[in-house]
């Protein structure tokens, strides 16, 4: 019998601007020991569906219009607050997306772990701190926290992202729930850590026989662990089937679109000439930051974000720079653009040494090199219209007079595929993909020769990601750009780059032309990275998890 059965669920948001049908007539069921994946792009209603089960939605504006959600025969949607608290305490647990923000920074992780046990709403079921602690430590061992005895009294900031997500999983499991809801639990993590966490969830599910609802935007991630997949779009179910049928025999256009949007293989760029002469020449670049922890010994005085890196980028080349978080890849990019002062070493742009120039001397060079940032929500000034944002670089560098500016800006809007009618709008009125188009428009406004793109698609949905990547490739071709493409996502880098550099802990681990590196990685770190990429292929994914 299904442990959870959702029937005809409708959740609407009543806002001043009208009603948003976030979830519109959804039905599904999960059995014990089964993993159901809900896949969809942002705004598809996948998270709203799950939050409505636990009464975690803000009401108003949210309102459950219709439907039932039977958990072991009890309707979750109509039960009283006390019953809901019982369910949350005993039966259903959630793992949230961002382990950085879902743990309280002022409490030790141990304190947070035992909280639901010691402060159980039902006084009879509450247990003593001592036995709760024993239970918590056993669980920390199970989720792979080393030295769990000592780590019990550590604060969240003393853990890495992956370790925090393990703690979150332990927290979810401590009440021995029958249903575990994972809301994008690996999205904020590096690819190697993601592989570990996925394995852990799979393993725990098997040993404990819990039902799992796994929410993700990434079909590749769910391929290996899901038994059934639901594809959601705009509040409705587009397709629901067992995993293999979704991946191998889908009939739905939207699912096909999602699958084809996953970047696979390499794109060959026609009509480009890569000259041998380097446009960018970096030699022995070091960028250190003062260590904030305040230890005075000479060893740890500095964080070596970039440690003795040399590289060259030829004209017309797209260089992919890959690394996990903390590898120094973004700092390297910012040091090349002279946005972060280098400690030593030199950066040459077109045979001119940039390091050591002051802000004024750099102005003419800034025009020739630009940057596209990761988060299109943060990289645009919220109080400037698109027109102002795009005209600022043109006016500042004297590339257009006040009279011609409207024409220039419209041309830019065309180049990046935005409707001219949207000139007067503010950033918040655009979707993520459109914002990234604005940011790209700003970067190409000065007709630069060199652009650094720092994770330009990692905040975007997969279909949008594909569009933006194609836009970038188009622009590279049209404007003869040289580009450094920074990303943690190997598939994306493979799709777009001519040559790849792998970075770890501030140094270059391996470099080579893209296909050669994929076919014959030399360094163990590179091999690890490549093997951790989730593929949208359930059979090979299962095989990989099984053989680990």
């Amino acid at each position: 019998m299904a442990i959870l059965e959702v029937n005809g669920l409708k959740v609407f948001f009543h806002t001043r601007n009208g009603t948003v049908k976030a979830v519109n007539d959804i039905s599904f069921s999960v059995d014990s020991g089964e993993t159901l994946a809900i896949v969809g792009e942002s705004g598809s209603g996948k998270s709203v569906t799950c939050y409505s089960l636990l009464d975690l939605l803000p009401k108003p504006p949210a309102k459950i219009e219709a439907g039932t959600a039977l958990f072991e025969g009890n309707d979750l949607l109509t039960c009283s607050k006390d019953q809901m608290r019982q369910h949350r305490c005993n039966d259903i647990a959630v793992i949230f997306q961002d382990p950085m923000t879902s743990l309280n920074p002022f409490l030790t992780i141990g304190e947070q772990l035992i909280e639901p046990l010691v402060h159980h709403p039902d006084k009879d079921q509450a247990i003593t701190r001592r036995s709760a602690k024993e239970k918590a430590i056993a669980l920390l061992d199970e989720v792979g926290i080393i030295d769990s005895q000592e780590r019990f009294d550590c604060y969240p900031h003393e853990f890495s992202g992956g370790m925090r997500q393990r703690v979150m999983i332990a927290m979810a499991l401590i009440t021995e729930p029958k249903l575990l809801i994972c809301d994008e639990p690996t999205t904020a993590l590096d690819v190697t850590i993601q592989a570990q966490i996925l394995e852990l969830i799979k393993k725990l599910q098997e040993t404990r026989n819990v039902a799992v609802i796994f929410i993700s935007h990434d079909l590749g991630v769910v391929a290996g662990i899901a038994d059934k997949v639901i594809v959601m779009c705009e509040g409705t179910i587009r397709e629901a089937d067992i995993t293999d049928n979704i991946f191998y025999k889908t009939k739905d256009d939207y699912t096909k679109k999602l699958l084809s949007a996953i970047p696979e293989g390499a794109k060959t760029l026609p009509n480009r000439s890569i000259h041998g002469s380097p446009l960018i020449d970096v030699s022995n670049l070091k960028t250190y930051f003062k260590n904030q922890s305040g230890k005075k010994d000479n060893e740890n005085q500095f964080v070596k974000a970039v440690d003795d890196v040399s590289l060259a980028i030829s004209r017309g080349e797209i260089l992919g720079l890959v690394g996990e978080s903390g590898s120094g890849k973004s700092t390297l990019g910012r040091s090349i653009l002279q946005l972060a002062p280098a400690t030593s070493g030199s950066v040459k742009f077109d045979d001119q040494v940039l390091t050591g120039m002051n802000a004024k001397q750099l102005v003419p060079w800034r025009k020739r090199m630009q940057m596209i940032f990761q988060d299109p929500y943060a990289s645009l000034n919220p109080r400037m219209t698109v027109f102002e944002t795009l005209s600022e670089p043109l006016l500042y560098h004297g590339l257009a007079s006040k009279k011609e500016i409207a024409q220039h800006v419209k041309q830019l809007m065309d180049d990046v595929g935005l409707a001219q009618a949207q000139l007067r709008k503010y950033p918040h009125e655009f979707s993520g993909g459109q914002r990234q188009r604005i940011a790209i428009g700003r970067a190409i406004a000065t007709k630069p020769e060199f652009i650094i793109a720092d994770e330009p698609v990692s905040a975007l949905d997969v279909t949008i990601q594909a569009q933006i990547l194609d836009l970038i490739l188009d622009l590279v071709e049209q404007h003869n750009l040289t580009m450094m493409f920074i990303s943690h996502d190997l598939s994306v880098v493979r799709y777009i780059s001519d040559r790849v550099i792998i970075m770890n802990r501030g140094v270059i681990v391996e470099q080579g032309d893209t296909e050669g590196l994929w076919a014959r990685p030399k360094e163990p770190y590179t091999k690890d990275l490549l093997s951790a990429i989730p593929l949208a292929d359930p059979r090979s994914e299962r095989l990989r998890i099984a053989t680990r």
């Binding site: 001043r16 601007n17 910012r334 653009l337 946005l339 802000a359 750099l362 102005v363 060079w365 800034r366 025009k367 630009q370 940057m371 940032f373 990761q374 988060d375 943060a378 990289s379 645009l380 000034n381 919220p382 109080r383 400037m384 219209t385 027109f387 102002e388 600022e392 670089p393 500042y396 560098h397 006040k402 500016i405 409207a406 024409q407 419209k410 000139l423 007067r424 503010y426 918040h428 009125e429 940011a439 700003r442 000065t446």
Partner: protein
């Protein structure tokens, strides 16, 4: 160039005005403020009586047809005195707050944006001024420069900017590391341009709210100083002073307290409505309706 001219001129301030003009409560506040300001400007022409002519035989009378708002214990017309008092109060409120705004925003923005040593030095200066007893500061100014209403305004403004600088600085420090500021940097914009175009407009929300709180507190501060004999002197008056005297005779002649009180609260209401409206209008993200 047909529609593009409109597009060109579109900016935060213009859009804010369009949005504000749709906000009835804010417009109401603005209208009241305008009426008060215009009345103050025209007071010497339209005031029914002289503000200093006493009529001791008449004494304090309650509102009547001759004296709409009654007379005070010296037989002076209250309406006239409130009108003249409004001149002083509104002036001190706006000038002192404007002084505080300009110094505070610039000081805070520069300190917060550059950080490090610049910030340390600038904020220590603020701390030192905070520690300086306000009264002694004003008395010193009065002794050195002589008693002068304008100087009083600046002195009050020069004290109030400290808090403004603190608020702006903390806002700027959070903004400084935002990606759009870094993007502006990578465009090669000068530091001053970045502060002016990217930083300050994004600090406006809290600044406006604090401004609407500062204006009334400055008005009351002036009353306090005048009460101590450091501000304006009788027979001149201000709303704060009128209220102070009104409190003393509250039980016998309540209208001496009530009417200046209404004038002051009306201003505060208007300011708050306008302030809230401005804050929403200057934030493009606030819903449009």
């Amino acid at each position: 160039m047909n529609s593009s001219i409109e597009e060109n001129s579109s900016s935060l301030w213009k859009d804010a005005w369009i949005k504000l003009s749709k906000n009835r409560l804010a417009l109401f506040g603005l209208a009241i403020l305008c009426i008060l300001i215009i009345t103050s400007l025209l007071t010497p022409l339209i005031a029914p009586y002289s503000y200093e002519a006493q009529n001791l035989e008449l004494g304090a009378t309650s509102p009547s047809i001759q004296h709409w708002l009654g007379t005070d214990i010296f037989g002076r017309d209250m309406l006239t005195r409130i009108m003249y008092g409004g001149r002083v109060s509104l002036m001190v409120g706006f000038i002192a707050t404007a002084v505080a705004l300009v110094i505070g925003i610039l000081w805070g923005a520069v300190a917060g944006f550059f950080g490090g040593r610049v910030d340390a030095v600038m904020m220590r200066i603020v701390d030192m001024l905070y520690a300086l007893p306000f009264m002694i500061f004003i008395i010193l100014l009065m002794v050195v420069f002589g008693r002068n209403i304008l100087l009083l305004f600046f002195a009050i403004g020069a004290v109030e900017w400290l808090t403004m600088a603190r608020i702006v600085r903390s806002q700027v420090m959070a903004l400084r590391n935002q990606e759009f500021v870094e993007a502006a940097n990578s465009l090669g914009l000068s530091q001053w341009t970045i502060i002016r175009r990217h930083i300050i407009p994004n600090t406006l929300g809290p600044v406006i709210v604090y401004t609407t709180l500062t204006i009334p507190s400055v008005m009351l501060l002036e009353a306090f100083l005048s009460f101590l004999g450091l501000g304006i002197q009788p027979p001149q008056s201000s709303w704060g002073l009128l209220i102070n005297y009104g409190v003393e005779t509250m039980e016998e002649f309540p209208w001496l307290l009530i009417f200046p009180g209404i004038a002051l609260s009306l201003t505060l209401f208007a300011l708050n409505f306008l302030g809230d409206g401005l804050r929403d209008a200057l934030d493009p993200r606030a819903s449009k309706d």
